[in-house]
């Protein structure tokens, strides 16, 4: 990883999507223990994973991690905190008018 250059890595992962009444969730786990750092981007390869209603789908996939450059990682660490409003739930989208 350079100061300004991005690395691209491929890692195996397990995707779990639950589209159920008692749990609506979707998680990605890197099965080789790869770790995500601030500013990294992740995309799971392959077709969209669609769990029909009432189903839990588990799939082994490959994910591509676009590693942030050192500078970008530092920047995200310094500025990420200011996106905290996204953690707050106000029950409304950001659209000013519908």
């Amino acid at each position: 990883m350079g100061i300004l250059t991005k690395d691209v890595e491929r890692h195996p992962c397990e995707v779990e999507v639950s589209h159920c009444f008692d749990s609506l969730h979707a998680h990605v786990k890197f099965t080789d223990g790869a770790v995500i750092w601030p500013g990294d981007e992740v995309i799971v390869k392959g077709p969209e994973i669609m769990a029909p209603y009432g189903h839990v789908v588990r799939e082994q996939r490959e994910a591509v991690i676009f590693r942030a450059s050192k500078l970008e990682r530092l920047w995200t660490r310094l500025t990420g905190d200011f996106e905290f409003m996204e953690l707050c739930e106000f029950s409304f989208s950001e659209e000013v008018k519908l």
Partner: protein
């Protein structure tokens, strides 16, 4: 939607909310899915892609948290969450009245669906965040807490999703195969933001619930009947974050007191602005958004006295005036952006910034934090 007769399973459960094992839950869902695919083909569903946010944090710092100073309260709270008093609650019962979606006034329908989708996204994002913290951490106390909170959030999301499906809105979880960027929060900012988010969430839900108890004629959708148990989950999540903050007095003193004031102001102001963007929704509930905001701020301030060293002076003469100014500037800003009027946009941004700074500069009220942190939901 659940008009078919569900098959009864091993423990007698006919609903996933009652299932005691994963296998049983899956079997019930399987049954439901057979029925469901028929419905889905018959009704053209509007597709909505959920777009949660992804975060990382300093997981080493999180692992280093030692709950020993609050062990007694901590164990009680975890035991209560493990006992899962709300298991089986988030299901449709006979109380789930028929919803006349087609007869709903279009403006209200639009705002209400927006309310459901954004609530669902918020619950979902909480679930993603908590699960990530559970997975990356190695401190048993911490991972256990986040696992339990992820369970609740996923359950709430599932319940709202069900209400959305009834309205003909299908939630699409296909976001995983789209590129997503991970942002970063320091653990203490996660504590402040999620603590406030959970407590203000409780205050918001319970205020609506109590209002509709007194004015049932305004209850235009049955989901509001579930708000009390729902917000009790939010309440206990907030309790957990309060205890986490209690483990380290530095988190709520010194320069961090200024951060807390900033968070409180930003959260209250954002809530005020966003609520005022949804007039039809509040009119249908029979709620004046200004009254509602003040109610919620009062309750949240009272609750946050359990851990925060200060409360905002929401009765200060400048408070309401600047909130109104901020809301006006925000609406003008959106209009200027839409009409591509750069000068007006800058003007509105400057007015919004001024109003926010003015809110921030209102002197806060000092608060002496009680020795015992734990509270019970009493509103």
């Amino acid at each position: 939607m659940n008009a078919h007769t569900p098959k009864t399973h091993a423990s007698g459960a006919t609903h996933t909310a009652d299932a005691t094992t994963v296998e049983e839950g899956l079997a019930i869902q399987e049954e439901q899915a057979k029925f469901d695919s028929d419905t889905a083909t018959a009704v053209a569903m509007q597709n909505t892609l959920l777009t949660p946010r992804f975060y990382t944090t300093d997981f080493d710092e999180l692992d280093a948290v030692d709950v020993t100073p609050v062990r007694e309260d901590w164990d009680l709270l975890i035991a209560q969450m493990q006992a899962d008093p709300n298991k089986g609650h988030f299901r449709k019962t006979d109380d789930w009245d028929h919803v006349d979606w087609d007869g709903m006034e279009p403006g209200l329908r639009k705002e209400f669906i927006d309310f459901l989708i954004s609530s669902c996204t918020a619950e979902f994002s909480g679930c993603v965040l908590y699960k990530e913290m559970k997975r990356r951490g190695s401190n048993k106390d911490i991972t256990q807490l986040f696992q339990l909170m992820a369970r609740d959030e996923a359950r709430h999301a599932g319940f709202i999703n069900d209400a959305l499906r009834e309205a003909g809105v299908a939630v699409n979880l296909g976001f995983l195969t789209q590129k997503k960027k991970y942002t970063y929060f320091r653990p203490k900012f996660i504590y402040y933001a999620t603590y406030l988010s959970e407590k203000i969430g409780y205050a918001r839900y319970i205020t609506i619930f109590r209002h509709l108890e007194a004015h049932p004629e305004h209850r235009f959708h049955p989901i509001f009947k579930w708000f009390r148990e729902w917000c009790n989950d939010e309440f206990s999540h907030g309790e957990a974050f309060a205890l986490l903050m209690k483990t380290d007095p530095k988190l709520t003193s010194g320069v961090n007191a200024y951060w807390i004031k900033f968070f409180l102001t930003a959260v209250y102001a954002t809530m005020y602005v966003r609520d005022h963007q949804r007039p039809a929704f509040h009119a249908a509930l029979g709620v004046d958004p200004d009254w509602y905001a003040h109610e919620v701020f009062t309750k949240t301030s009272k609750l946050s006295q359990q851990i925060f060293p200060l409360t905002l002076d929401i009765d200060h003469p400048r408070w309401q005036r600047e909130l109104v100014a901020l809301q006006k500037a925000n609406a003008d800003l959106a209009l200027a952006v839409q009409r591509k009027q750069t000068l007006k946009k800058w003007g509105a941004q400057a007015r919004a910034a001024r109003a926010f700074v003015s809110l921030l500069l209102i002197p806060s009220k000092a608060n002496k934090v009680p020795a015992s942190t734990r509270m019970e939901p009493v509103y």
